[in-house]
Symmetry: C2
Subunit: 480 residues, 2 copies
């Protein structure tokens, strides 16, 4: 029976190069990360997927606190009148709002939006909380879920409800707001690269692609294994765009009434989609150790033989004591082969096998999920050995993803090159800045402008699309 | 200016014995825990209040995980048809549901409830996830906010939206479900007593007061300083009440199809109300060290004098390194007196003053918020001293609350005694078990049945209300 099931695992995952999209769906549905629900476009995060989000939450939250932010919790419902206050913002979000119109038996006089994002309620409260320059800056964040009535949804990548964090800050000056916007973009870049082993392109969005209501939007863009872009996080500088309609003003040191400058920034459960599509392979998930729910799984071999379960128990305690997230898989109703497949599918970075032969030799047989290499680690230094391996896997996964990214990113100098390059990668091109060129490129190649890198050293002087004079360096790619 | 403001603090808090309800409102609104919002009945948790909830979350979550539970995240919207499946449940919750009827530009065919609680969506998913006895038990929990369209609301005690955790578990047998229900009640009891320093009465609710859809509900009931009860947490055994309509069945070892047995349990941001009303005094909040956002605040005295800020910085580093949540209040625009008042108001357990005289003596002057006692602690063992003090404060706060509780709890043997006792305390009484008596007592005394203690040693043999034969011991009290 175990054999039969073992084969099922392999059968069910479509190869990546055959149909990347189907491969993604196969991996997502077979790894217990989430499940579909009867609520249109909404998913349930199962323990395994939810735990990844918890680890992202914990680690990012620490970075937010270390950069001076505090968490708050705002209402999930927002009165329509507040949503209407900033014109661009409402235009961007109104078409995808879920509306509460009834409370108990009472028909509401004013509709309430299930928050699609919380700028308008934050701004409403900020206008109460900010009086004087002494109240500034306010650097707040909240962890919650938001709702956008999307027409087509895909697990993690685009769902009606998704979980995220949204930072909202208020500053006295334009300079401080810009500094905050850039700092948080950088926090996201560091987090993606160090914690998720996902290299990203950081830069500024075009006016067309910026957030509804923002003066400037910056993003970190990751590359999936099909060469497509995935926007992993955004950081917005609002200037006074919201402060004016919401009347967020402060009395300056000189006694003058001034408008505040604001920012917002967020990442979401989308990051889990990015992890899957950056690192996964034919065997399933491949999780970076830093956010893996289990960093190591211990599998007893010939568990019925004397001493095996005992040694496994000792190994479990040793790894746990060393701060490793470890699971001892002591199920007796499936074979070791079945377990090998299951934990490979689930992407656990390190597999620790302990059987009679290992014990005889005083070692555990350890396999790393990223390369499938096996080594023997002495049982009496198992925790040190596994910890070193985890650090190496984390680095190696980043290196491989970064090599892939660089191999699939090219400078393009004309439209034909652009078209060819975005068929599986990022194109770096000169762009005149005209939205018409973005529209044309999107229509004809399905690629969109991703962002303008901070290093704007020109690679030419004419627009890749219209041939007019161009001074902006822009990344183009097809995107999720 | 500082003097003037200092007086304001004192002026604004109504004495507890003059008007407890106003005292509560004064404390809540002046301590930056929360703010009212333009969304009816919904509050915003400000950083200080949100941090208390975060600490509750962290500490309880660990207890949940240590007892074998895993976190998940379910959709916030629930289709009406699911809510209708369990008759008692829908009857209990339908009147207070906020309904989404419109998604983007589309009028929905079926209304979606903003979750008032999540039994129905959990059960829907459980029916997919449970097939065999090998899948059991499932022991899940989620942290989220829920919405109940309440007519009258009070910060923390009763709000339209509130934050909570809801555990939902599925078991093979009735015994296991009952064991889980009791275990989680016990987790809540331990948490209230150890972490919040709030003593509680644990017991079983009457049929009238049990959860809509439950077979049995257990609760922990705390006593506020006005002698009223506050239900601090509940744990429900559903038996097969939900499993039958939702068809949650498993194939047993013997190959028979059996219905599952379920539980759910929750505590909410109400606990913050309980903390305020159990421990607070005329100066404001008094926070138990374990959930205080800042356990100690360091105040420089004569900060401009040489060496003061330096010593304060050293003290800050020492306390922080010892794992103490510490704040250094180095504001130069308010006086030490103003700061004293502010941090007393905010309930910080320990105040550490360091001025030139202290430095001369090699000590810090330390005040404990629970008793206002001042001691000198040598600067070179400040962290140990403060940590010992924090442990003592935690215990002392529990002791004081427990003495108050015992002094305001009495056995009553007739209706007159009952009436007198519930006017500021808990009455322990014999009860016949008839709901009519509960109704009569509520109508005439405003007290409700709280719970039946596990120790059911009779204190008489006739019902305190109707005089008929009675075998149940029940606590009655007015409640929030």
């Amino acid at each position: 029976m175990a054999k039969e099931k073992k084969q099922e695992f392999v059968q069910h995952i479509t190869p990546r190069d055959e149909n990347f999209s189907q491969w993604y769906t196969d991996v997502v549905t077979q790894t217990d990360l989430m499940d579909y629900t009867p609520v249109r476009g909404c998913m349930a995060l199962k323990p395994y997927g939810n735990r990844i989000w918890e680890l992202i939450h914990e680690q990012l939250d620490k970075m937010f606190k270390d950069t001076g932010h505090e968490n708050v919790s705002m209402p999930m419902l927002i009165p329509e009148s507040l949503l209407l206050k900033e014109a661009d913002h409402v235009e961007g979000f109104a078409p995808e709002v879920a509306w509460v119109t009834q409370g108990g038996t009472e028909k509401l006089q004013e509709r309430l939006a299930v928050r699609p994002t919380s700028e308008t309620i934050f701004c409403t409260m900020f206008s109460k909380w900010v009086q004087s320059y002494r109240d500034l800056p306010l650097k707040y964040n909240q962890w919650c879920s938001v709702m956008r009535w999307e027409k087509t949804t895909r697990p993690f990548l685009r769902t009606a409800e998704f979980w995220w964090q949204e930072g909202h800050t208020v500053h006295a000056t334009a300079e401080e707001a810009e500094e905050e916007t850039q700092m948080m973009l950088n926090v996201y870049k560091t987090f993606c690269e160090k914690n998720l082993a996902i290299p990203v392109f950081a830069g500024q969005k075009s006016d067309k692609e910026k957030f509804a209501g923002a003066r400037a939007t910056y993003s970190v863009e990751a590359m999936m294994q099909d060469g497509k872009a995935l926007q992993a996080g955004t950081s917005h500088n609002f200037g006074t765009n919201f402060a004016v309609p919401f009347e967020i003003q402060y009395l300056s040191k000189d006694g003058k009434l001034e408008y505040c400058h604001e920012t917002s920034w967020g990442v979401s459960t989308r990051l889990i989609g990015a992890i899957i599509m950056t690192h996964g392979d034919e065997r399933g998930l491949k999780l970076p150790p830093m956010i893996a729910p289990f960093q190591a799984v211990i599998l007893p071999i010939a568990a019925h033989k004397g001493g095996v379960m005992e040694k496994c128990g000792e190994a479990f305690s040793a790894l746990k004591a060393a701060g490793i997230r470890v699971k001892l898989d002591d199920r007796d109703n499936v074979s070791p082969g079945w377990k090998f497949n299951e934990w490979e599918l689930k992407g656990v970075p390190v597999r620790v096998e302990i059987g009679p032969k290992d014990i005889e030799n005083g070692v555990a047989t350890v396999m790393r999920r990223d390369t499938f290499e096996k080594t023997a680690i002495p049982l009496d230094s198992l925790a040190e050995g596994v910890n070193a391996l985890l650090a190496d896997i984390q680095q190696n996964m980043y290196r491989i993803a970064d090599e892939f990214r660089l191999a699939h990113t090219k400078d393009v100098h004309n439209y034909e090159e652009l078209k060819a390059q975005v068929d599986g990668g990022y194109a770096r091109a000169m762009w005149c800045g005209d939205q018409k060129c973005e529209d044309k490129i999107k229509e004809e190649t399905a690629a969109t402008s991703r962002n303008m890198p901070f290093d704007q050293t020109p690679i030419g002087d004419t627009c890749v699309c219209c041939g007019r004079k161009a001074s902006k360096v822009m990344y183009f790619a097809k995107a999720y």
